[in-house]
Each structure stands twice: as C-alpha cells, then as structure tokens.
Amino acid sequence: MRRITTLFILVFAFSVLLHGQTDEREGKSWLDTNTAPPQMNVTGIWDGGDWGMVSLNQHQGGRRIIGTADSWDVTGIVSGKTVYLLIWKKDKVAFSARLTIEGSSQLTGVYAKGILSSTSKMIPIQLKK
C-alpha cells in the first residue's frame, strides 16, 4: 500500500511539474510568434478597472515586458503597436491579453483564460494611464 501511495505521489508531482513547464513553454512560444520591432514603450502604471492597478515595465528600445497586475505576475512582449501579456498564477498562465495602443494613454484589447487563440472566449479590456 505504501509503495502505491509513493508511486501516486511521484506521478502526481511529476505531472504538476510537467504541467508548469508546458504552460511556460506554451506561453513563451505564444509571445515569440510576435516578432515585429516595438513601436511604443508601455512603461508605467495603468488603471485596469477590475484588474486593479497594472504595472508594466519595458526597457528603452526593448520588446520584453515584466510587471504586476493586482499582485499577479505579468510577462509580455511589445510587437509593433500591440502588447501581448501573460498573467501568471504561480507557474500557470491564468490569463493572456492582446492590446493595442490608442493615443498615448490607453491600451484597448481582449483577454481570455489561458492562452489566447481563435477559439478563446474573449473579454474586452481597457488600461488607462
């Protein structure tokens, strides 16, 4: 019985580990499909409504984004005038978002649970400076 329990724990731990890695790999691959040079810098504090205050940080001339949204981790990329964000719950992608800039103080787009795809149930989102 003890062996079965140990085996079950090992299989469970392994699947959890693999699941986390899958999310990380899928998230990175989703971001990496967007390869245009950045045409904007989104660094700053954005008011995300229900998302709370969203902090985005992008190096001058860089494409990568790091930040926080209501205490959730955010990573992302700027491709042209579009921002692609992954919102992490520990090592799992909870949501992803695609936003485009409007003027200099508004990002508008959609988000969905997990990684955005053509079949995702998309919800509108707006970030304001």
Partner: protein
C-alpha cells in the same frame, strides 16, 4: 595634429555601436529570480520586532526628486504577525495590522517584496515627484494565510490609510 578623413570615419564607425547601446532587453525570467531580486539573498534577511509609534510623525513630504511611498497594512481578522517589505533586495521596514510607514525611492525600476509567512512581489517603474500607495494584505486562513501586495489608487488608499497609525520597528 590632423587625422586623415578615412581614419576619422573608421573611428566613428567603431564608436557607433557603443554610442547606440541601449539597456539589455532582459528581466529575471522566473518567479524565483524575481523573488531574489526583490527580497534579496536568504542570508541577508532581517527580522523585525514591530510596534506602533503614535508620537513621532512619519515623513510625508514629497521630496520632489524622489518617489514617495505609503506602505500600509489594514486590519484583517486574526493575523498579528509582522509583514515586512524589501526593495531591490534590501529590507526597509515592517507593519503590524493597522500600521503604516513611508519611504522614498530614486526614480526608475524597483522590485518590491512583501513577506509574511508567504511572499508577494510587485515590480514597478516609479517617477520622481509622485506618491504611491502600497497595501500589504494579509488575511487569516487556517492553513495558508492569503498574502498580497497591492498598488492602490489614491482614492482607494486614503480611507484605509486614515485608519492606520505609524509603525516602528527594531531589528532582532
């Protein structure tokens, strides 16, 4: 001393990449790497004995060339353990339920770490002359307390801040 034009042009071409250099486009990749950046190395961690100070008024004047932070912790149920804050790996202070403290930071990118039983991170680029409000939220749950560090709008922060008193601490 005069240099021929081709030599000057070659020197310009060689110097160009150095002049055009921007910041490297990298950030700490994993949560663990960001935690290390925010909270610092485990051997540098400090432990505080925290109390309230109802006598000494805290610094609340915006210095103009720096960012001012109000860091507060509202009362939530039965939690009584301290919640401490580190910025860029350096421990800055701590709160008990119902206390606050202020700190000033240079403008730029900063990594915040709030630590009470578990840790919560906040990464933000701050501007000189601006005031920011951070809420340490610790909610008691029997097995794992909920712990978050939130950046709040001024309008949301002010009523909560009004119900807190200044924090004071000693390093153990």
């Amino acid at each position: 001393m005069r240099y021929p034009a081709p030599v000057l042009m070659l020197a310009c071409i060689i110097a160009l990449p150095a002049l055009c250099q921007t910041e490297p486009d990298t950030y700490p990749d994993t949560w663990q790497a960001r935690e290390l950046q925010a909270c610092g190395a485990p051997d540098k961690e400090v432990h505080y004995t925290v109390d309230t100070d109802k006598v000494t008024p805290p610094v609340t004047v915006q210095p103009g060339n720096k960012a001012l932070f109000y860091i507060f912790r509202p009362r939530h149920g039965m939690t009584s353990f301290p919640d401490k804050i580190a910025v860029d790996g350096e421990w800055k202070g701590a709160n008990l339920p119902g206390t606050f403290f202020t700190l000033t930071l240079e403008p730029g990118l900063h990594y915040f770490c709030s630590s009470a039983k578990s840790r919560s991170l906040l990464i933000m680029t701050v501007e000189a002359g601006k005031t920011y409000y951070l809420e340490q939220q610790v909610i008691f749950k029997p097995h794992s307390p909920v712990h978050n560090l939130y950046l709040l709008r001024k309008a949301d922060a002010k009523p909560m801040l009004a119900q807190t008193t200044p924090s004071t601490w000693k390093i153990e």
